[in-house]
């Protein structure tokens, strides 16, 4: 389903020391530093798999998701998702996937959520019958009934996130990328999101790739874990492979980060 080999992406970041003098100096001469966000990444994911993609902040998780969803063009390496090269066949590719960026919003701010849904229906050319069925199912599973008629700007974060997830699934994608879907959510909303993703994977065989810092997300959802640090893949296995004894999952991961010095 997803084949990634030797993926590379480098960013140039302008750096300067603090202070007014240095800010003025940077006007004329700028120092750049190359950041290897992705440094030779390879993995493959099969159909219907649910994979947790973890790593500390700045490890390259989001960059990988952005490459896989056709937004970023990598500097090198190959990647095929369902036979397509995401950045070369962007329009065709994105019609088949769903993406949720937990820190951003895809719903139009000023209008009720259902207006955004209808626009998405037209953008993705979803047949009316499928659209109705999906909205009905998603409304029930994510408990959206009251929310659909509310303008996005008046939703709480948890309510909005549920709507965001629904919005990404209206066109019944075969692959779903979730980039920190539970960030900032309360316990109830987190559980609701996890349950929903689990059912989606079981019932529709949707392939799910999930990045998160919440290890309980991983515990609840992902049978397979890929650990990335400083742009490299450090570990690819199950949660049980990583866990030692009765340690709490957060401690296990912290140890792991220390062990790999990331």
């Amino acid at each position: 389903m997803i084949e990634v080999s030797h993926l590379r992406k480098t960013f140039r970041v302008a750096r300067r020391d603090e202070g007014f003098g240095n800010a003025v100096k940077a006007l004329f001469h700028r120092e750049y530093e190359e950041i290897h966000a992705l440094n030779d990444i390879s993995f493959s994911i099969g159909e219907g798999e649910m994979v947790g993609y973890i790593g500390p902040n700045g490890a390259g998780k989001s960059s990988t998701i952005k490459v896989l969803s056709g937004v970023l063009t990598p500097d090198g390496g190959e990647c095929r998702v369902d036979g397509r090269v995401p950045w070369k066949q962007r329009v065709k590719h994105v019609a088949q996937i769903g993406v949720v960026f937990g820190q951003r919003s895809q719903l139009w701010w000023d209008v009720p959520v259902v207006d955004s849904f209808e626009l998405l229906r037209d953008i993705y050319k979803i047949p009316e019958a499928t659209y109705r069925k999906n909205v009905r199912d998603l409304t029930e599973l994510l408990d959206l009934r009251e929310l659909l008629r509310t303008p996005t700007r008046q939703l709480s974060l948890g309510q909005r996130m549920r709507c965001e997830i629904a919005a990404s699934l209206l066109h019944s994608p075969k692959i779903l990328f979730l980039d920190e879907p539970t960030i900032g959510l309360d316990a109830v909303s987190k559980l609701a999101v996890r349950d929903f993703v689990k059912r989606l994977n079981q019932e529709h065989k949707t392939t799910v790739i999930l990045t998160t810092h919440d290890m309980q997300d991983i515990e609840a959802l992902a049978s397979r874990v890929i650990l990335i640090g400083k742009g490299k893949i450090l570990l690819d296995g199950t949660l049980d492979d990583i866990r030692k004894g009765n340690e709490q999952i957060d401690e296990t991961i912290a140890h792991l980060y220390k062990q790999y010095d990331i």
Binding site: S69, V91, K92, V94, V99, F101, D110, D115, L119, D122
Partner: protein, 268 residues
Amino acid sequence: MKKYLSFFRLRFVMNLQYRVAALAGVVCQFFWGGMAILAFYAFYQTDPASFPMDFQATASYIWLQQGLLAMLSLIGGTDGQVFEAIQSGNVVYELCRPVSLYAMWFSNNVASRIARALLRFIPVVIVSSCLPAPFGLMAPPDAGTFFLFLLSLALALLVTAAFSLVVYNVTFFTISDRGVRLISTSLSDFLMGGIVPLPFFPEGFRQFAELLPFSCMENVPLRVYSGDLSGAPMVRAILLQVMWLFLLVLIGKALEHKALKRVVVQGG
């Protein structure tokens, strides 16, 4: 096609949410239009012979300009959302849609221009055509002229939208939109005849300004309406509009192609 109509519908609905803004806009446009006409009138009275346009045509120009301000000014209204999306990195979501980014932004831009203008155009036209001559909006000389006005207005709308798309795409490279916005709005306001109509420009400079893309924006339709621009010069102006539309779309698309290759999504 359907998705572009949906953009339009959503834009229109969004604009309906801001009734007070539309009302305030209309009031402001009446004041501004009135002031401009009085200033031109003072100028006209000192020496009617050196006035380069018919006074009634000038008044109509100003009223139409005020009525269509939301449609024909280069940057404004909802454009902020695009700049914001590029700056904050929210543009990733737009890149996750199975639509060409250019087509999506272009149709959004045109849709929001039309939607915002519709609300404001009607009151300005009704009131200004009730004003006594020569201060009010005159009727176009004949039906043919009115048709040509509509044609050149549509072209002006598309040229203006194509130019804003160029500005959008430049923002991918500069990140901050302030500089590009400032330069392009002040240049376009002046050179498209937003401050004084192009016939008031000094000889030589006027001929130069008439070749620029800005002259293909509000300058052409507003002068076609009153018959100030007619015959061969009008045909030339409309052809120039078509040419600039074509060129600006090409430039915008080329910039976008380049920008997307090296796009860096801001903010993680």
